[in-house]
């Protein structure tokens, strides 16, 4: 009698990866490899010594210096302009795409549309970057069109769409289609149904999608580096340029600021996405 629960648990243990020998060690090594450099970077941004590699005391000077740096400021302003615009546009387009590929009558090519929207996630970014650069060069040389910072906003909007699309689509697929029928049955026009029923229920997905799009755009390097014109430096590019000069903890401070912004948005989207589940 006593033996049964014990064997049951042993059976469970055999298939549960957490009870495999060495699991704890492997997990610990992975976590350290992943996070230790980040903690070191954050820690060194408080280092009083100008030489990055030796700790001499605590200071907030590097943050003050970073914040007073005009170039950092204009890079931050560019980044926010581009990321926020790209987030708004890509989220709107992704929402429309998600509605189009999950709602209404199934249509020929629906599967192909889904593939096309999500494919850029799998294309190496450098290829997208070169293609985007070629596209804008063509526009400029053949038609004489240059949108200035708009070029970057367009490029970012385009590559953010699949990131915004995924959580929105997931949320839509979870949603009960009969709710739309019920609204129509209760005299709601298609437009009213969208505003009163679909959109409020979809909102967690839209917010999660927007947060993801923002993060992806915010720290994009490859595409921005190729497409950006003079005076269109963003934070990642500015930091990269600074690293090539003698390295000071000021860069660490800037990275810490970036990291905090990223962590904030990821937590925010996780929080919103986790609610109402």
């Amino acid at each position: 009698m006593r033996a049964r629960p014990a064997t049951a648990r042993a059976g469970q243990k055999a298939t549960d990866v957490r009870y495999q020998p060495g699991f704890f060690t492997v997990a610990l090594v992975c976590l350290i490899v992943l996070y230790a450099p980040i903690f070191v970077l954050v820690g060194l941004s408080f280092n009083a010594n100008t030489v990055v590699t030796s700790w001499t005391g605590f200071t907030l000077d590097w943050f003050a210096k970073a914040v007073q740096n005009d170039d950092f400021y204009s890079a931050a302003a560019n980044t926010l302009t581009i990321s926020l615009s790209a987030t708004v546009f890509s989220t709107m387009l992704a929402t429309a795409a998600a509605l189009g590929t999950t709602r209404g009558q199934p249509w020929r090519g629906q599967g192909a549309a889904y593939m096309t929207i999500s494919l850029p996630l799998m294309v190496p970014e450098i290829i997208t970057a070169v293609a985007t650069l070629a596209f804008f060069s063509l526009l400029a040389s053949v038609f004489g069109i240059n949108f200035g910072i708009g070029n970057l906003i367009i490029a970012h909007t385009v590559f953010c769409i699949p990131f915004a699309y995924m959580p929105i689509r997931a949320r839509l697929e979870d949603m009960d289609l009969t709710l739309d029928y019920a609204a129509a049955d209760l005299y709601a026009t298609p437009w009213a149904t969208f505003w009163r029923i679909t959109l409020p229920l979809l909102l967690p997905g839209i917010i999660a999608g927007a947060a993801l799009a923002f993060i992806v755009s915010f720290d994009d390097f490859t595409i921005t580096q190729l497409v950006a014109g003079p005076g269109q430096t963003t934070l990642p590019i500015y930091i990269w340029a600074k690293i090539r000069r003698p390295l000071t903890p000021e860069v660490n401070a800037m990275c810490t600021v970036l990291l905090m912004i990223s962590v904030f948005f990821v937590s925010f989207s996780a929080f919103i996405g986790g609610r109402r589940r």
Partner: protein, 368 residues
């Protein structure tokens, strides 16, 4: 055609529905369905799973378009109207309450969409909450109430805009037996109080019999019989209806004598039986008659028309079922009501006979 006589009620006129499926042959879900549902009627669509009940309901609501035929409400064609412009509301099988709105906001949604004044919406919502006895729950989220309560909110939400027709798609199927019985009575009460036409879908024949003014029995996309519960039970039109509604015994014989509404049938075992006929039969033709188990009576051997042996005795509390193996090798079911203190009328293995009092047998139409 001149349509100056506005027929009140809901008319379903030779409606058919064919579903086109990619890579598969077309599927005919409804075939030539014609029904006239009167105002303030409790009308039930009854049939086995997949017979097209939901499809028909969705076409009345406007979610699906008929491939053929027309649907008219009080004489006006509504086939071309989108769902939001039809004075028809639905209680969905899974209720489909809006999870982000409170109970009261759910009930008021239809009126709000109809742009009614705020005061009127509030008054109607309060009245509906009273009707479904949910006054205390007005501000709850719909996820914070029980299944039966959700069902009542769905009902109140559909009734609040005072539709001309209320469609109910198996609204009770998710409830347990006791709650189901309670809700059946509630539904009847609400229908009487509101005077709205109810079109009710179920595959539970007992529910259909107890609640309906009239029933349409459907099978494989066709309507087999329309009538009051009594008509359908006592005079089933064919083998399928007889089998689907209640238990039935079928006997085959030859027509040997005919008079007004009655015929004599000579059974295979030679016994002659009087049966009522809903439609005409021809002299000398083979006919199938149906006898309900509760209308047959067990008798001593030799007294009844059919001889047999008791095969199984099943006790049901209110009554007992006897499965009798007849001389022809068929099984005939006799149901007898239990009275207090009675021992079983017959034991397993006992030789008995089946007595069929006059008028209990009905000839099935169109059966060879």
């Amino acid at each position: 055609m001149l349509d100056n006589t506005k027929v009140p009620g809901l008319a379903i006129d030779r409606v058919g529905k064919v579903f086109q499926q990619a890579g598969k042959p077309d599927f005919r879900a409804l075939d030539d369905v014609s029904l006239t549902i009167r105002p303030n009627e409790f009308f039930t669509l009854l049939g086995p799973s997949g017979c097209g009940k939901t499809t028909l309901l969705r076409m009345i609501a406007g979610f699906e378009h008929p491939s053929e035929g027309e649907i008219r409400l009080d004489g006006d064609p509504i086939t071309g109207l989108p769902p939001n412009r039809r004075p028809v509301n639905t209680v969905f099988q899974n209720y489909a309450l809006f999870p982000h709105l409170s109970v009261a906001a759910n009930i008021g949604f239809g009126l709000e969409m109809l742009k009614k004044p705020r005061a009127e919406i509030e008054a109607t919502v309060a009245q509906m909450l009273r009707l479904v006895r949910m006054e205390e729950m007005a501000d709850r989220k719909t996820s914070q109430i029980s299944g039966g309560q959700q069902q009542r909110v769905a009902l109140a939400r559909a009734l609040a805009p005072r539709p001309r027709v209320l469609l109910l798609d198996e609204p009770l199927s998710a409830l347990d037996l006791k709650l189901r019985k309670e809700m059946q009575i509630e539904l009847k009460r609400m229908q009487a109080e509101t005077g709205i036409t109810f079109v009710f879908v179920t595959h539970d024949q007992e529910e259909a019999l107890t609640m309906s003014d009239r029933i349409a029995v459907m099978s494989a996309g066709r309507v087999l019989q329309v009538g009051a519960p009594r008509d359908i039970y006592d005079r089933p039109a064919n083998h399928f209806v007889a089998n689907f509604i209640g238990d039935s015994n079928f006997l085959t014989g030859t027509v040997v004598e005919m008079s007004a509404g009655l015929v004599s049938i000579r059974l295979v075992n030679g016994a002659v039986l009087e049966a009522s006929v809903p439609s005409s039969v021809t002299f000398g033709a083979t006919a199938t008659v149906v006898v309900r188990p509760e209308h047959a009576v067990l008798a001593a051997p030799g007294e009844g028309v059919i001889a047999g042996e008791v095969e199984t005795v099943i006790y049901f509390g209110t009554d007992t079922h006897f499965h009798i193996r007849t001389g022809e090798g068929a099984t005939f079911i006799v149901r007898q009501q239990n009275r207090r203190g009675d021992a079983a009328v017959a034991q397993r293995g006992e030789a008995v006979s089946i007595h069929l009092p006059p008028g209990v047998a009905t000839v099935l139409a169109g059966e060879a």
